[in-house]
Symmetry: C2
Amino acid sequence: MITVHDAAGRLAAALGDGPAAKLAASALVEADALGLPRFGIAMLDEWTVDAAPVAASDGAQAINWLDCSSCFAPLAVASAALDLAGAARQFGIAAVFLRGVRGFGRLAPFVRHLADAGLLAIAGAEGPPFVAPYGGIHPVIGTNPLALAIGQGADRVVIDVATSTATMADIRNARVSGAPLPDGIALDGEGRPTSIAAEVAALLPRGGQIGSLLGLVVELVAGVAGGGRGDPKGRGVFILAFDPARAGDDVDWQARLAGLKRDWTTGGGHWPRGGSLSLETELDDDFAQRLDTHLARMTGRSAGR
Amino acid sequence: MITVHDAAGRLAAALGDGPAAKLAASALVEADALGLPRFGIAMLDEWTVDAAPVAASDGAQAINWLDCSSCFAPLAVASAALDLAGAARQFGIAAVFLRGVRGFGRLAPFVRHLADAGLLAIAGAEGPPFVAPYGGIHPVIGTNPLALAIGQGADRVVIDVATSTATMADIRNARVSGAPLPDGIALDGEGRPTSIAAEVAALLPRGGQIGSLLGLVVELVAGVAGGGRGDPKGRGVFILAFDPARAGDDVDWQARLAGLKRDWTTGGGHWPRGGSLSLETELDDDFAQRLDTHLARMTGRSAGR
């Protein structure tokens, strides 16, 4: 057993121990602790000792584009989020577009970090074509998650939602287990609904037309304007943040956030928190062993604590 | 009969004939021409001769908040969109938050104008609580549309989508006609599904959870950070734009947009165009008479052309 705190600390040290290393490490460990191992330390498979240092955003600009194809992706996204906080404070609003991004995990920890810095942050990621447009039959866009965070403490909200009904990992799992897929998840190569994982050629958008349009929004921002679409070296990711305190005393955004949370939950809604958890949460021995193996490879030492 | 071109020209003159007047006038006339009269010149009912001049955004800032409660809303949104284009070109990215906005029509014409200026634009509007959260039973947020536009000519995309299944206007129309509502549209005062318009107490989010979360995204940006939520004088509206050409030669966003459109339509999807139409489109005599009546009131002259 190892706590989130200790696992993230050990991983951050192996990643260089700077602020980006700490943010990337805690993001990956958190995913494992949330039971989402395919967004967790499995990403370390992509780490290489000769990964390029993460390019710094140009602090003189409110908007930046970065090619991350030679970087370790979780560090690149973390570093971009940290730089973005400074730019958003300086200019009031800022954005960064990353391309060539390989597996980086979940968006939630990065937008949450920006919310902790007092900003409203929105992020999205495009990816390889797995999802058909609404009404269509062939895959055109990725599962294209969108995330938003604002606020601190009990009122904080962290949204992190895929725009597809399922992920290709879900389909691969069903292929292995042989379990039938739920209805309305996927199409076969002829564009017909299918519940047989081995026949899946395209996933469907979540919620029909609105999920399809939201996936298209993410593709237009991260893939078209951000330049990520069609890059064989990795995905397109954007992060945007602005400083609501710039409104001055006219807008008490913290009171409005507290009021909206109260109304939302009183109205019967679930207030999304993006799956954060206590640093004292414990991970099991299987995780601890996997972490040891990764750390041994990264530090060039044999496994063992 | 009157063409869109001539109707918009006459209305723009009555609104002062500047760039904002022209944009606002064409947005309203276009809505009528698209068969959406409740987003059209009916908005002129709110026009008063003593409406405050539209506040100019502070050109020295990438991000601005404006109280529009004393302004004619279509002019205020048009003026903000025009100022935003300048700020986005100057800083690379910019945003404006309007509050106290009364009926202004559709978002699509304003983001389309920014796309014509070479920008990617995103806008959203919150409003009075009509829509329940996913899984909830009481209304908490508005029908909260989100819009995005990028590109020019044949490849241009204009998304403009409400995050609710229906609008309160749809419910009012059904109340008058007595027609039953489709399933899955609305809840009664006890939170039970209803198809009886007179019993509707809350609308449902479009597409279930994802539409609910997207409505929450719009509320958090326009209502919380933008300060619009709970303002009895009107809605919160945000418009955000950035300049994809700032990426330089590394990202050919126009080629990527053309490629995405080709893939999207080949895959069976509908490429959204936001309902623009030819300036030569003709509007019927009923519209022409309504326009005359509005113009007569606005100019203090008796109706008649």
